[in-house]
């Protein structure tokens, strides 16, 4: 077969940003599948249209998910991507690697796949792009020996992910890396065998900066926070002032609750503890001077997801503060109660947030056993359409 030309894709090798086309070409040197992918993609660029069919169900023994089946609609022309499935490997907490482990991943993928990957997928997995059905089981076996396992797909728990947390961040209010590892192990069955109405994602951020975008991208978002008051080191404040930082303008005036008072004469910064909403802003701007409080834990939010079907939902507060320490029993129990309730009440392809929206937060709270608190809402209802429990009614 003569080499095909890829004039459009070649354009995308120009420019300063590293090129995915160069990467496909690099893989194509060793892999026929990668070569066909390149040519098929050029065809898409010509046609302005994808050339992949609706996926079929493929997988490995003992698992209900973790592989996305994929077939081109032009198998005659591009036989090496006739089957081009993706494997999802569960990443280590915080996406930390030794080069050894990475090389192992590469070596196995050189043998069993196209040599193309995504580091990482949007949910957090290592994405191994493109292999044939017959390679799935052998590839899995070798990855398993190397210490890796599959991630989630389908109507199951999706691969949890977390921010770098205490590994490299001074803001972490709980051990995100440990919790992510712990709960991923705890919920292996939920992760690998789809059995729910739809997918469920958990993401963990060590503080309200939310560096894994959990509030937007996870059904359950665990965001580090504290119960007491942030601490301020006045010497460090003086140092910032000496550097010429506009503390009033860049910190106090941007505090959403106006909880900070700066005494420019004394170069002292003070917080009104009961007014602070722990948004992280002052800590972000003055990391050497301001720190979270001592009594640390996390806020649990539920219901986040992107736009399909009912509109996007941001996750909302269901537990304002929970201690977040191994073995995370309270959290795990809560997840199990929520899943059970969702499983019982949810329709097919109904995310937990959509279910709660449909049946009402009150019912959710009662049936899952959470006490309603004003922190769960920005503001109370504007309508008076209250459902009255039978036992509060005079018969």
């Amino acid at each position: 077969m003569t080499e095909k030309k890829t004039p459009q894709l070649d354009e995308l090798e120009k420019g300063p940003w590293p090129s995915f086309v160069s990467e496909i070409k690099r893989a194509a040197v060793k892999s026929e599948a990668a070569k066909d992918l390149l040519n098929l993609l050029e065809r898409s660029y010509e046609d302005k249209k994808g050339h992949w069919k609706h996926g079929g169900i493929v997988g490995v023994k003992g698992y209900g998910g973790g592989v996305i089946g994929r077939y081109t609609d032009l198998p005659g022309e591009f036989p090496h991507v006739a089957e081009f499935h993706t494997m999802r490997l569960n990443q280590p907490s915080g996406w930390f690697y030794t080069t050894d482990k990475l090389r192992q991943i590469c070596d196995i993928w050189e043998k069993h796949g196209s040599g193309l990957t995504n580091f990482h997928g949007s949910t957090g997995d290592i994405i191994l792009l493109g292999t044939k059905t017959e390679h799935l089981q052998p590839a899995f076996d070798e990855y398993s020996d190397a210490g890796f396992d599959l991630g989630g797909s389908g109507s199951d728990l999706r691969t949890p992910s977390c921010c770098v947390g205490p590994g490299r961040c001074e803001h972490a209010c709980y051990d995100t890396l440990d919790m992510c590892y712990d709960i991923t192990n705890e919920f292996q069955d939920e992760l690998h065998r789809p059995m729910w109405p739809y997918k469920f994602k958990i993401k963990m951020s060590g503080c309200a900066n939310d560096c894994v975008a959990s509030i937007a991208r996870a059904d359950c978002s665990v965001i580090g926070t504290w119960r007491d008051t942030l601490t301020i080191d006045q010497d460090a404040i003086k140092a910032y002032a000496a550097e010429g930082l506009d503390i009033q303008g860049m910190v106090c005036d941007k505090c959403p609750t106006r909880a900070l008072k700066y005494d420019a004469a004394k170069q002292e910064l003070h917080v009104i503890p009961e007014d602070c909403s722990r948004c992280m802003h002052c800590i972000n701007v003055l990391p050497k001077a301001v720190q979270p409080g001592q009594e640390k834990g996390a806020t649990i939010l539920l219901g986040g997801k992107s736009t399909i079907v009912q509109s996007a939902f941001l996750a909302w507060v269901i537990v304002p503060f929970m201690k977040m320490e191994a073995p995370y029993t309270e959290f795990k129990d809560l997840m199990r109660r929520i899943w059970e309730w969702w499983d019982e009440n949810g329709k097919t392809r109904e995310r937990v947030g959509e279910l709660i929206y449909r049946v009402g937060m009150g019912r959710f709270l009662r049936e899952v056993g959470l006490a309603p608190v004003p922190q769960m809402v920005f503001r109370p209802r504007a309508n008076p359409y209250v459902f009255w429990p039978q036992d509060e009614i005079v018969k």
Binding site: P18, K48, R103, D149, V164, G167, I308, A312, T348
Partner: protein, 352 residues
Amino acid sequence: MSRIDAGPPNYREMLPPIILQNYGKWQYHELPQPGVLKHVSENGSELYSVRVGSPRLVSIDFIREICDLADTYCDGYLRFTSRNNIEFLVGDPVKVAPLLQALEAKGLPVGGTGNALSNIVHTQGWVHCHTPATDASGIVKSVMDDLFEHFGHMDLPAKLKIAMACCLNMCGAVHCSDIAILGVHRTPPRVNDEIIQKGTEIPTLVGACPTGAIRPNPKTKSVVVNEERCMYCGNCYTMSPGMQILDEKNDGVAILVGGKVSNARTAPSFSRLVIPFMPNNPPRWPEVTEAVHHIVDVWMKYARRGERVGEWIERIGWEKFFGLTGLPFSDKLIDDFIFSKETFRTTAAFKY
């Protein structure tokens, strides 16, 4: 032999010694230069992280190459970020400069920290998915080339988070981004009765449509689409291959702006539609790169220090945003879905 449910590798085995020693003891950080983070611990230890842009879609040889670098400069440790950048974890300050040189030699961009543009979170597009309205990698490459200077400099008013998703499923979770690039369909699905008869649960398919546009057709044992009600979300196609939604003539790209995720200062918020459609114009989507560039320029010109895109727009008002950018406003930008009501301006106070 393979074990089932073994779970991921233990992260502790992946952490460099300097992190194991200072775990949870980091005290503060500085940004000595764009792309370089310096974290200092209680013990006085200093960790340098060098952040490097990646196309995310990479070959195993690319991975091996960065492993070589990590072996040389980082004792064999590195990590990836939540936006698919690579972070070289340098325990020995002396090795930072040589690493930076090595990266430059290889053409790997360093940046994405502080008030810079970071990598674009994105998705599969024409590379691997069955529902894309556009490609992801190609647009990302084009936009990053175009905005390249902002990756390596920290001269923006605030962080700039751009995301790209190739269809309304929004795997790139673009819905809360400073700037979101989104593949959109614009025509209803074409029903293929044969395919539907074969493998589709009709009630589930009917139920999948958010606008109730799909009705069962008992005669054909298939369905019909009320085209007037369809807004091309593609959810039916996700449910059944018999509802083909790809349309090379009409698929394209929309732009949404002003979302954010962090709780810092202002609450997390959704991005909002400001350009409903631009055509697919591969390989470099000039309409898209120009539109994004223009929005960034206007933001840089008018925002105050520390203002994310959405914070700036909310301060000046969306009516001013359209004025300053010159983007045309149309009824397509006005919500007409379930939660539209909260977007209507229920006050006589507004700007001209």
